[in-house]
């Protein structure tokens, strides 16, 4: 991994990015016929042509090619686009400010065309323009211009992917995001687990903490600038906060007890977690400004893995108060506890969808593990999306469309990897990570 410091990272992501959203020519919204319905499992992939971006300077030629590649890979991975082979393209555009020859693109059955141009404005400033064309409608769907430092070109590519995704599917994208995860090294009986972060597509992966060899369950704040995680630095597991912009690290509270299972509230002002007293785990919430802590559950069963609803009014958590671990929902103040999972098996690790309507969970039954979803409203409509020896810990894409989770293979040589699956259960695939990886958490769309 690159030897970048946390500060470099923060500078790169936090300060240097200058993105100008200049709408070149936003056409009228009369292109409903192009929107694909992604609520169904087997939505037909939209054929899209993505030629290499144009480059007017030798130093940007490579970036212009790579941008087309990154955008193509983003869209392909979503399962909703079929990127047409560049060898098929007939027209070779030389100026993206003119309309393409739509007939040439119709011949190869492209529905949309992505054309872009990279302009080197100075040694440390890059401008990128892109236009999205509706081939059958014969018109422009979108046009955007971005500017940044040359080494930050991947973010522009992801932002273009997001713009295309949004224009075609009608939903927000998730490509200009990062994943915080645990990088694993070593055999099962002596495994190092370190906090790491990478772009959503596996690029720019790096460790965030030196010296901590057992770190688990990282989660992003809604600002994507803070991470909460679990570490054993003091000897027992405790919850920490890490500001990835400043590198400031903080132990949450001065609790003598084990704390675990942290998550931010949707407004980022509170942290919800479990604390162990006399062996028993209960759910607590801390106001991060005043540091005042409130206990939310008092049950003698294990109460763990709390997750807020996106409106911050309710909390889903795991409890074994009924004998086996099941999912329960309560109000944000701990009132009105209600069980919502009733299927056969053990339900753990719930995570409330950013759309609010669904709760993802891990279910184990008959020696198998599944990632599933059910309706937050009444616990009905359970659907299992995956099946393996060990799947666990779902995390949602910011648009509530894709779920990442950990899949571990069995045996002494067993390894963990991050996998993704669509809400529909389609498009199951392994996520690129530099090595073995677990406990992914998806950031919001970056600011």
């Amino acid at each position: 991994m690159a030897q970048k410091t946390l500060k470099d990272w923060g500078r790169k992501w936090g300060y240097v990015v200058v993105v100008l959203f200049a709408v070149i020519n936003l056409s009228s919204p009369a292109f409903a016929q192009l929107e694909i319905d992604i609520t169904k499992g087997n939505a037909k992939a939209t054929p899209v042509a993505i030629p290499d971006f144009l480059s007017a300077h030798p130093q940007t030629n490579q970036i212009a090619r790579d941008m087309a590649k990154v955008i193509s890979d983003d869209l392909e991975r979503s399962g909703l686009f079929d990127v047409l082979d560049q060898a098929l393209y007939i027209e070779k555009q030389t100026d993206i400010n003119y309309q393409p020859r739509f007939s040439d693109w119709r011949l190869i059955n492209a529905r949309v065309l992505v054309s872009g141009r990279v302009v080197r404005e100075s040694a440390d400033r890059l401008k990128v323009e892109f236009r999205l064309w509706d081939i059958y409608g014969g018109k422009q769907l979108d046009g955007l211009r971005f500017a940044t430092t040359p080494d930050n070109w991947r973010r522009i590519a992801h932002k273009i992917s997001d713009a295309i995704y949004k224009r075609i599917t009608g939903e927000g994208g998730y490509f200009d995001t990062r994943i915080v995860y645990i990088a694993e090294n070593g055999p099962k009986v002596n495994r190092r687990k370190r906090l790491a972060i990478m772009d959503q597509d596996g690029a720019n992966s790096q460790y965030l903490l030196a010296g901590a060899d057992l770190v688990l369950t990282p989660r992003f704040s809604p600002s994507a600038q803070k991470i909460t995680y679990l570490s054993w630095e003091t000897g027992v597991s405790q919850v920490y906060l890490l500001d990835i912009e400043t590198g400031r690290r903080e132990l949450l509270g001065n609790f003598p007890n084990m704390t675990l299972a942290p998550r931010f509230s949707p407004d980022g002002k509170k942290l919800i977690f479990s604390m162990v007293k006399k062996g028993n785990s209960d759910v607590y919430v801390m106001d991060l400004t005043s540091k005042s802590t409130q206990r939310l559950t008092t049950n003698s069963g294990i109460d763990i893995s709390p997750s807020f609803s996106p409106d911050g009014k309710r909390i889903v958590f795991t409890s074994d108060r009924g004998g086996s671990p099941q999912l329960y929902i309560m109000a944000a103040n701990g009132a009105n506890v209600k069980r919502i999972s009733f299927g056969k098996g053990r339900y753990t690790a719930p995570n409330w969808s950013p759309r609010g309507d669904l709760i993802a969970f891990t279910k184990s039954t008959k020696g198998r593990f599944h990632i599933g979803v059910l309706n937050a409203k009444d616990g009905k409509g359970e659907r299992l999306l995956t099946d393996s020896y060990l799947d666990e810990g779902p995390t949602w894409s910011p648009n509530g469309r894709v779920i990442l989770f950990t899949r571990e293979t069995r045996g002494a040589q067993g390894r963990s990897a991050v996998w993704s699956v669509d809400l529909t259960g389609a498009n199951l695939r392994k996520v690129a990570t530099p090595g073995s990886a677990s406990d992914p958490a998806w950031s919001p769309i970056l600011p």
Partner: protein, 190 residues
Amino acid sequence: MNRKMKFAVISMMVVAVSACASAPKEIVQQEPEPVQEQIPAPVVTVPAPVAPVEQVIVQAAPTGPAAGSADHFKYVSGEDRVYFAYNSYDLSTTARDTLRRQAQWLGNYSTSILVIGGNADERGTREYNLALGARRADSVKAFLVSQGVAPARITTVSYGKERPIDGGSNESSWALNRNAHSAVLVGGEG
């Protein structure tokens, strides 16, 4: 016969054959075979009778760990881990016996302190297993306290499923990984 010797023998045979082949033909005059003499009967030598050897099993040298050490704790207690059933934190009879011996040792070495680590097998999700490990560690602590160990001497920690002692994914491996480990830290002169 090794390769070299074989080669040597074959070479000699070749030499002999070629010698025969190249030698001029001669008339061989054969002598009559000599009359065989009678072979004398072998003389048997009787060995001296075997002298008896006395055999005594020597006890292993007493090389046990130094009294009061962490190794001694394990040696005396028999086990520094107790094991649990699936998704359970109840102490079995065997576990209680082990813990009674641990408590006795802790009574004898009263400046030592104990860190109990609760562990779970891999068939559970990460956070739930951390909570389960915490329960197991606390079960052990509560029992040791009931046996007279001062609660202030005992710290508990859970590692969930993060510290397996057996990497396998089968019943026997899982059974080993569902445990609470007593790590003794020896302070002062004990």
